[in-house]
């Protein structure tokens, strides 16, 4: 890995992400997980930890873990163990969180993505199932705290990476890639504002070749923008500390979007002893190979597999294939257009180019795309058969996008963008241009390529952009030979 250094320091980042699973019921009770209900209306006896209640595993949550493991090429443990993490807090009703400690359900795997043109891979350590805590509300109650246990017992997958990332950009790209995968396979709604996808970043810096520096963990990054700001700030802060001769203390920090700074919540010295031990209320989680196969059969084609197929089936470069498979909707759009027009690479260029650009500019998703895959295919067809030039096609696309028209041929006709393919008319123009530019002709004959380009430009201009550049080249060369 070649690392970009900042003031001579190498940045090392690892991630822990809590993905809230899109199950109907909680992980160990049958209460609903819907967001936004009145406080404490979605907490049953088990969630309230009433005396005598016991946890019973929700199979749906396990299926989500299997899906993630399959999507990331992980080992799905045939037997994993639930453990209790013991600590007191008012929004933790049992006084312990049921999690997985020594033997998690998903082990290893990797997340691949592109950073610019460079392919990156972040290795996973593990992903384990656990329950969420409730919420403490400190603001609405004067001198008291309110407890809302609706969220208590909501299933989470905590996804932990190796410290493989070497820059903020790479970290954010990883988080986006993971976000795309969990939403792609439908295990998480990905809503960061509602806390469905929360990232903790472990950040440290070191001189190249030195052992890992002391890390600080930035908790609960709930937007990609804050993630970027928080990690950037944290890197600068740590380097500053080290440059000033201070040591970094291991700590958990929070990012304050108002100040743009991170501040320490607690240091290692306050770290609790969670007294993990296997939860005697839950037998080992056994996942038979048949269950994995069942889940696999019902899964959508995975982004990695789809990208490989795009390379093989459509002859796309790997970069294109990976980019197009960042979301199911984009991949489907591409594939439909490619099949309809029969020119996959052109379709890929258009989807990654014009289509993505317009979606980004208007901040809308593929679900709201304004040029259908069939319209795009028709347009690409018209480029392929020489009816329009690339430039003209862009104008047609604009017209389709803005709703000026819906039929590709009608738009081409209405805008007069048809390419001049009549060689007689073109020859006439070329003869005129040669006659009108003797100096350029002389220079070309003397070996100056630039002069040739100037002549081509003149011909294009005279044809009002409708001439086929390829044809212009050929005819002009023939006439000047």
């Amino acid at each position: 890995m070649t690392a970009k250094l900042i003031q001579g320091y190498e940045v090392v980042i690892g991630f822990e992400t809590h993905a809230q699973l899109a199950t109907k019921a909680k992980i160990f009770s049958r209460a609903s997980t819907a967001f936004g209900a009145e406080p404490n209306t979605q907490a049953c006896a088990v969630d309230l930890a009433l005396p005598g209640t016991l946890p019973v595993m929700n199979r749906e949550a396990v299926a989500c873990a299997i899906k993630l493991g399959l999507a990331l090429g992980s080992h799905i443990a045939p037997q994993s163990i639930f453990a209790r993490k013991n600590y007191f807090y008012p929004d933790l009703p049992k006084g312990y969180q049921i999690s997985q400690f020594e033997i998690p359900v998903v082990q290893g795997g990797e997340v691949g993505f592109y950073l610019g043109d460079e392919k990156k891979t972040v290795r996973l350590v593990r992903a384990h199932l656990e329950e969420d805590a409730g919420k403490s509300l400190h603001e609405e109650f004067h001198g008291m705290s309110g407890i809302d246990l609706n969220r208590a017992g909501t299933p989470l997958l905590e996804i932990v990476t190796e410290p493989d990332m070497r820059s903020t950009d790479e970290a954010v790209a990883y988080a986006k890639a993971l976000h795309q995968i969990v939403t792609w396979i439908g295990i998480c709604d990905g809503n960061m504002q509602e806390g469905s996808f929360r990232c903790d970043a472990n950040v440290s810096v070191r001189r190249p070749g030195q052992p890992l520096g002391t890390r600080r963990e930035i908790k609960n990054l709930n937007s990609f923008k804050y993630m970027q700001q928080a990690i950037d700030y944290e890197i600068r802060w740590q380097i500053e500390q080290l440059e000033d001769g201070h040591k970094i203390q291991q700590a958990t920090v929070l990012f304050d979007p108002d100040t743009g700074e991170t501040r320490a919540m607690r240091t290692k010295e306050d770290a609790a002893d969670y007294r993990y031990f296997p939860d005697p209320d839950l037998p080992p989680l056994v996942i038979a190979p048949e269950w994995v196969e069942q889940v696999k059969a019902a899964m959508p084609e995975l982004p990695r597999a789809m990208a490989t197929r795009f390379v093989q089936q459509y002859g796309l470069p790997e970069y294109d294939a990976t980019t197009l498979t960042q979301s199911q909707a984009m991949a489907a759009y591409f594939e439909d257009a490619a099949k309809a027009c029969g020119a996959p690479k052109l379709a890929s260029n258009w989807v990654m180019g014009e289509v993505s650009r317009r979606l980004n500019t208007e901040e809308i998703g593929m679900d709201a795309v304004k040029v259908s895959s069939r319209q795009l295919a028709a347009l690409i067809g018209r480029i392929g058969d020489g009816t329009v030039s690339n430039n003209a096609a862009r104008q047609v696309f604009e017209a389709l996008w803005s709703g000026e028209g819906s039929d590709v041929d009608a738009v081409i006709e209405a805008k007069g963008l048809k390419q001049m393919n009549d060689s007689g008319a073109l020859e006439k123009i070329i003869d005129e241009v040669i006659a009108a530019n003797p100096a350029n002709v002389e220079q070309y004959k003397a070996g100056k390529d630039k002069a040739f380009n100037a002549l081509v430009g003149q011909v294009m201009k005279a044809s009002k952009g409708k001439a086929n550049p390829q044809q212009v080249n050929e005819l002009l060369k023939a006439k000047l030979a």
């Binding site: 009433l50 019973v56 312990y96 407890i147 002893d273 037998p283």
Partner: protein, 496 residues
């Protein structure tokens, strides 16, 4: 039927009388409620609710009249106050849960109600089922304003045993024909032995733990206590069965008729007698009574086989690491936040936790929480908890070795008969007295206590029978055959 005899009837006889209309469920309930009141000095009951009891009884009378009676229709029972109940407060004999009312019934409670049983009330026990004397109860029994020890009906100056002390005392004093108890390390068998009643702890996982306030999850099992093995079989059959939607540790095995083997011949039965159960520390009177019972089995055609359970001694330290470890975590939910006791004055959150738990829990509970917290702490976990887990497996393996040579294991339940109230103040000495019941608990095996005679001062002695997994029917039959040959289980304490 004369009501004086009603409380001498066994469950089977009573159920028959109820179905036959010789006595109504309401009459039976009133009779036992009256006895509970007239014997309240024993401290067995901690909660009665006559209205609820009689309402349940009337329902059963209606179903009997309608010809839709369940097998135990109208049979009055009572529950250890570890089972949560809708109709009665549930305290686990702790100040922490004083006045707590559960919004649901424990599965065991619901199953027995489904079989037609009528609940008389809740029974005293050691706080959160921790103890072997019932002296750790922190709640006032019915008729008292302050906590009182449960008295052994055979000698009011002695303990009934524990933790299901109220349950055992209630059966011995005929304040209920049958009751529920729970057994974590001997809490059904030891009080049954001390009070001269019959009790069985089934294989771990037979009875749902849902609604049984957890002490040590990997050990806790519910079971019935009654005067005879036959009665225990009737209750156990109603209590057990899978509960997959509520308890992940409940076994996926259909309900069984545990009385199906009652009356089978014991000819050729191999009874293993572990040498380690008869060593130093076993009182002479207990030894003699157990020997006499073993001789009785030989007369019934069984053969005694000497066996060894070499890690019996280790079961005490292993249990007193694992059970407190689980308890320390299980009892974390009692934090004063959502229900139960909360200290009236505190300065901040941490202070609220500290005061609530310091004031809400009794000494023995606090002792075990501290032991458990210690053995789970970083740096000690491997040395204590993990080691204990390994030994637990070895103890279970020892039983499997033994069961290659025998069909049942027999020995004493406890080293002595019931001791005097207040005489045993050393916690470690108390823990050591559990030595014969802990091995079967750690292995998850079914075990029972059968009245086997009387020791010094006319105090009951129990014989412990331990079976292999799922051998409850065989165990109950062995107990039943002994009870057909003896009358220890039929004798009543003087003045009862």
């Amino acid at each position: 039927m004369s009501s004086t005899a009603l409380h001498d009837l066994g469950v089977a006889q009573l159920a028959a009388a109820l179905r036959g209309g010789q006595v109504s469920a309401v009459e039976a309930a009133r009779h036992f409620l009256a006895r509970a009141r007239s014997h309240q000095h024993l401290g067995a009951y901690v909660a009665l609710n006559e209205d609820a009891t009689l309402a349940q009884a009337r329902e059963q009378d209606a179903s009997i009249a309608a010809g839709t009676a369940a097998p135990l229709a109208g049979v009055p029972i009572a529950h250890k106050d570890i089972f949560v109940t809708r109709d009665f407060p549930t305290t686990a004999a702790s100040r922490m849960l004083a006045g707590y009312r559960s919004p649901f019934d424990a599965t065991v409670v619901a199953r027995l109600a489904g079989a037609g049983c009528v609940t008389l009330g809740k029974l005293n026990c050691d706080e959160f089922a921790m103890g072997g004397t019932n002296e750790n109860s922190a709640v006032a029994p019915v008729g008292f304003d302050a906590p009182q020890p449960v008295r052994n009906p055979w000698d009011g100056a002695r303990v009934p045993g524990g933790s299901s002390g109220g349950s055992a005392a209630a059966v011995a004093a005929r304040l209920a024909p049958a009751v529920t108890g729970t057994d974590t390390g001997g809490s059904i068998r030891q009080p049954a032995s001390f009070c001269g009643v019959t009790g069985i702890k089934p294989t771990y996982g037979r009875a749902s733990r849902y609604g049984m306030i957890a002490f040590a999850s990997s050990l806790d099992q519910a079971g019935p206590m009654a005067r005879s093995a036959e009665d225990c079989a009737l209750l156990l059959s109603a209590m057990c069965g899978p509960d997959p939607d509520r308890d992940s540790t409940s076994l996926d095995r259909p309900a069984e008729d545990f009385g199906r083997a009652l009356g089978d011949s014991l000819e050729g039965l191999r009874i293993g007698v572990p040498a380690e159960f008869f060593g130093e520390g076993l009182a002479a009177d207990v030894h003699a009574a157990v020997d006499a019972a073993l001789k009785e089995y030989e007369k019934l055609g069984a053969r005694l086989v000497p066996i060894t359970l070499p890690r019996t001694d280790l079961s005490v330290p292993v249990y007193y690491i694992l059970a407190p470890a689980e308890a320390s975590s299980n009892l974390s939910r009692f934090d004063g936040v959502r229900y139960g006791y909360r200290a009236s004055q505190y300065s901040d959150l941490l202070d609220m936790y500290k005061k609530t738990r310091a004031q809400g829990f009794g000494d023995e509970v606090k002792r075990r929480i501290m032991i458990g917290t210690y053995v789970l702490s970083e740096g000690y976990y491997d040395a204590y908890y993990l080691q204990a887990q390994k030994l637990r497996r070895m103890i279970a393996d020892d039983f499997q070795q033994a069961f290659k040579e025998c069909d049942l294991i027999a020995g004493p339940v406890a080293p002595t008969t019931a001791w005097r109230l207040g005489s045993q103040n050393d916690p470690v000495a108390n823990y050591l007295a559990d030595i014969y019941t802990l091995p079967a608990s750690l292995a998850g095996l079914p075990g029972m206590s059968v009245p086997a005679g009387f020791g010094e001062g006319g105090l009951p002695v129990g014989l412990q029978l331990i079976g292999n997994y799922f051998q409850e029917a065989r165990l109950l039959n062995a107990a039943h055959r002994l009870q057909q040959a003896t009358d220890f289980h039929l004798r009543a304490p003087e003045g009862i």
